[in-house]
Symmetry: C2
Subunit: 202 residues, 2 copies
Amino acid sequence: MTEYLLPLEQMIEQLGSLPGVGRKTAAKYAFHLLELPQEELEQFCTTLLDGKRRIKTCRICNNLCEGEVCSICADPKRVNGQICVVEDVKTLMAMERAGSFRGEYHVLGGALSPIDGIGPDQIDVAGLMDRIKTGPQPVLEVIVATNPTVEGETTALYITRLLKDSEIRVTRLACGIPVGADLEYADEVTLMRALEGRQSLK
Amino acid sequence: MTEYLLPLEQMIEQLGSLPGVGRKTAAKYAFHLLELPQEELEQFCTTLLDGKRRIKTCRICNNLCEGEVCSICADPKRVNGQICVVEDVKTLMAMERAGSFRGEYHVLGGALSPIDGIGPDQIDVAGLMDRIKTGPQPVLEVIVATNPTVEGETTALYITRLLKDSEIRVTRLACGIPVGADLEYADEVTLMRALEGRQSLK
C-alpha cells in the first residue's frame, strides 16, 4: 500500500467512504480534486453542503423535497386512494421512472431487520398508519413495494398484519422474470415465484 | 433520465465530474452524502479543502509536499546523479512503490501534445534543464519515464534532443511484456518492442 502525505491520506480516506469506492478509486478522485483550481474545489464542496441544506424530507411521505411537502403530495391529481410503500427514495424514483403508478407514496426509510436492530420504530410505519387513519382522503389500497429480500418481505408481512382488520386492499409487486432476461439464467427462487404468479393467457 | 430536485441535480453534476463517474454512480454518491449526518458531510468537505490547502508542490521537482521541498529532494541519500523524469506525481508514486530507483525525480506535469496545445512551455522542461545546469550536484543520467504513448515518446525525444550535446546519459524505461501477462494476448506493438529490446541470456 502506498503511503501518501497525511493530508492526501485523509482525503483518500474520506473519498473511500463513498459507496463502492476502494482505496485506488479514492486516490484517483483525490488526485483529480487536488488538481482542480481552488475555486472549483470550493464550488464542489459548496454544492454538496448546499444540497444537504436545501433538500428536506416531505412531512407527509418522506420523499425528498425543497419545501414542506414534496411535489407528488402537493399534486391533487395524485390522490387516487392508492399509497405505494417503498423502502427508500431511490425506489420511489424508480417507480416514477416506470411512470405507470399515479397514486401517492410512503417512504419507510428502511426495512425491518431484527438482526440489525431495525424494528417498527426505526422505520416510518407509524407515519403510514397515521396517514391511513387520519388522512384527508380514504385509502383504498396499499401497494407494498419493498424489496424482494428477507427484510422487505418481513416488512410487507408486518404492514399486511397491521391492516388485516381494515377494508383496505394490501398488494405486493409481482415477482418474476425481468423483461428481456433469459429464462436459462434465472435463479430457482425467481423461477418458482414466476410460476406461482403465472397469468392466464386464455 | 430521471429528473431530480435541482439541488440534488447540482450535487450529481459535481460528483459526475470525478474521473470515471457517470450519472448513475454520481447519483449513488449524492444519495449517500445526503444521508450522512450534517457534521460528517462538513468533515468530508473540510478534509478535501484542507488537503488542497496543505498540499503544495516541491519547488525542486514538482512532487507533492507539505513544505517547500518534498521528502525525496530533502533526502541527501537520494542524490546519486540520476534524475527520473515522469509526467505526473502518480507515476512518481508508482516508481517509488516499485522501490528500486534510488535517485531523484522531476515531475513535468504533462507530456508534449501539439494537438492539445501543450508545448515545451506548458510542461516543466525548463525546470529540469535548470536543475541539470545549475544544480548543486552533477547529473550523470536522465531516465525518461514518460508514458509509452505518442505524447510520452514525443516528450522523451524532445528531452533527448535538448541534452544531445551534453555528457549526460539519457535513457528510457524498457518497453515489453508485462510480468505475469500472457504472450498470446499481447498487442503487436508491445510484442515488436519486446523483440527489439530482447536481452541475451548467454
